[in-house]
């Protein structure tokens, strides 16, 4: 079961600074167990950040993004009190959506 993200979004009057910390193994598919069996790849492939109906960032990720991924970016056009929604989808089809209120 996917664990919740940590979201922080802060508006300075013009620009909203967004920081997202996701919890995911981001398993590359290259590692082996002690018995020599490959650990199957399991990683987030897409991240979508929405401000209302508007997509403000869309990411495609490969397994080279670190475990428990961090994503930071900035956008214009939002105000304090607005909702921001983040969704990720991984290569096994699992997904998780969390939201925060812009401070």
């Amino acid at each position: 079961m996917a664990k919740p993200m940590k979201l922080r979004a802060r508006n300075d009057g013009e620009i909203t600074d967004v920081r997202i910390l996701m919890r995911h193994d981001m398993e590359t598919g290259q590692r082996k167990t002690q018995d020599g069996d490959l650990i199957p790849a399991h990683y987030i492939q897409n991240v979508t950040v929405r401000h209302g109906q508007r997509v403000v960032l869309f990411a495609q990720w490969g397994p080279a993004v670190s475990k428990n991924p961090f994503l930071g970016f900035k956008f214009r056009g939002a105000a304090a009190g607005d909702r921001l929604e983040v969704t990720w989808v991984d290569n096994k089809g699992d997904s998780r959506t969390d939201e925060t209120i812009i401070a």
Partner: protein
């Protein structure tokens, strides 16, 4: 005004719309997945191959692209990489690690209103160039920076 319709046309084919179509049940997730994730580029096993799958326009070395990353990373499993692009009309930013088994790490779509300023943490198999590609107004701008990795990020 027809600004909503114009925005829709401008974004048609863009991932946000695809995601919307999936959410509304117009597209089946399997077919949408292919549209949302550039499999050939992520599967590429060399920098040249990955670049060939991502770049579809003229390519220049860009002084307008800044890579914010350490010169030396102690832990290759967690290397902070930030990208700031100062040219107008940035559409997407890709981050690649040259020596990784699959160099392409991430592609970010930058819609209008979003700043060309993203930060991520990536794994690096060893000391290598980090290569950043910025697509702006149909042109590609490339920059690279060598990061020394004292402990690789692909083992245990």
């Amino acid at each position: 005004m027809d600004s909503g319709r114009r925005a829709f046309i401008r974004n048609a084919g863009n991932a946000g719309v695809v995601a919307l179509l999936v959410a509304n049940g117009f597209l089946r997730p399997e077919s949408a997945r292919a549209a949302l994730w550039n499999k050939p580029a992520f599967d590429a096993t060399s920098l040249e191959e990955a670049l060939a799958k991502v770049v579809d326009g003229p390519l220049t070395e860009g002084a307008d692209v800044t890579i914010v990353a350490p010169d030396i990373a102690e832990n290759g499993a967690v290397v902070p990489v930030g990208v700031i692009a100062s040219m107008p009309g940035v559409e997407s930013i890709a981050i690649l690690c040259e020596k990784n088994p699959h160099p392409l790490a991430a592609i970010y779509d930058i819609p209008a209103g979003t700043l060309a300023d993203v930060k991520t943490r990536v794994k690096m198999a060893g000391t290598s160039n980090v290569v950043v590609l910025v697509r702006a107004e149909g042109k590609f701008h490339m920059a690279s920076k060598e990061i020394k990795v004292t402990r690789g990020g692909c083992g245990g």
